[in-house]
Symmetry: C2
Subunit: 234 residues, 2 copies
Amino acid sequence: MLNQSLLPMQTCHCCSFSHSCLRGIPVQNKAVASLLIYERQSSLYLLGDPFSSLYVLRSGSAKTYVNTESGHEQISSFHYPGDVLGLEGFDSMVHSSSLQFLETSSVCRISLKNVNNAMDESREVRQRLLAYMSRSIRDEQLLLMSLNQYDSKQRVIKFLLDLSEKMKRGGLSRSEFNLSMSRIDIANFLGLAIETISRLLTKMDAQGLIKVQNRKITLYSIDALKTYLLVPSD
Amino acid sequence: MLNQSLLPMQTCHCCSFSHSCLRGIPVQNKAVASLLIYERQSSLYLLGDPFSSLYVLRSGSAKTYVNTESGHEQISSFHYPGDVLGLEGFDSMVHSSSLQFLETSSVCRISLKNVNNAMDESREVRQRLLAYMSRSIRDEQLLLMSLNQYDSKQRVIKFLLDLSEKMKRGGLSRSEFNLSMSRIDIANFLGLAIETISRLLTKMDAQGLIKVQNRKITLYSIDALKTYLLVPSD
DNA sequence: CGTTCTATTGACATCATTCAACGCCGGTGG
DNA sequence: CCACCGGCGTTGAATGATGTCAATAGAACG
């Protein structure tokens, strides 16, 4: 079912001009990037694929996951517009994780060659790329912290608040949004059972903290939710 | 107790010549790096400190930790010789975590200015730095996976096997080594209670998998330990 | 309109934490 | 030298949170 319908090699004006692309990297040459569109459940790359490009998510959403030797699939992050995809490939020049879209999405593709040329030419590009990767490392450290010290309720709240931030970043409502991932994915990501996720969402709905309608989530009070992350739980 | 005794600005020949330094980055200018020595429990940098240098751990060991708003301290990684320290600072030019040494250790300090100059001059340096950060991101993803899908016994085994790899990398025995961190630190890192760590080590000793004498660990069969990571537990 | 995947809910089992007591070790001062 | 002390580590018993199993309901898709 990894049917990827990609529009081959359209010139991507967004990347040539937009300031927000690749977190602000101004790509001088207009021909360096191309816009690709992928369907829900299709993959941008799989673990083991050669690392030949970086991508910037323009619209939609995606998940990054790694497969263990024992066959288990572990989701390590969810992605939203503005995120740079594929950075883990620089080490061995092979993708060390897989990326799958959660809904119809579009990405800017920038070939590794063009990335390298841009780095050769501009110190600012180098700095921005380093900064972005640096931030990724930091984000993963913080995620690790959340999963280690928080109990199940706090993990779910943290997850919702992080999503809320991403929505706000994308110019959407920070208190009312649709989950693009299943409960199964949420459970996998948070290291909890799906039943636990379900129960907690129901309970928090009953407590008046949030409203849950299938995948539509409403956060009644972001501040109230944040207080739950400070105390040893509730 | 953050008493840091650093030898000010000695020329560091190791970094000028050693191929292994900064994971193979050959720093041309001999004056770019300096060797510093730190005592046990002293800090290289704290969260919030300005990001002015990268460091390569030459000898000893260290831990990276982040503090939450609620005062909790979460260890996100342990470091051994060859590791590059401080990479998370590129984002905001301020350290987003703290680094503390677990024993008397030495580091090569390379100022940010020199790092940037080296990147300006050499494409290879750029590639290596990107590769190193890329690998860091991957390592954290894998760690996240371990903590999410493994039960307590598997976490401890994974921890020991990872340490074993680092020992081997450093040219030491991979089956017999000393822990440089306390049980408290291990528990914090793995997201378990110290009692759980203690019980599991004792049990695995009784089972003949490992030998535990205070902080000295002997792995009787690395292969046998690895099999525990494949099955849902034991 | 039926099949299949996803989500909810309840009952029960289990693993890990918590609380508590104790032993060990190194340091310090009498 | 011995006594005391504090930090670290071990061990036991009880509690509790989360997972597992099972049944059902709802949503999505053809």
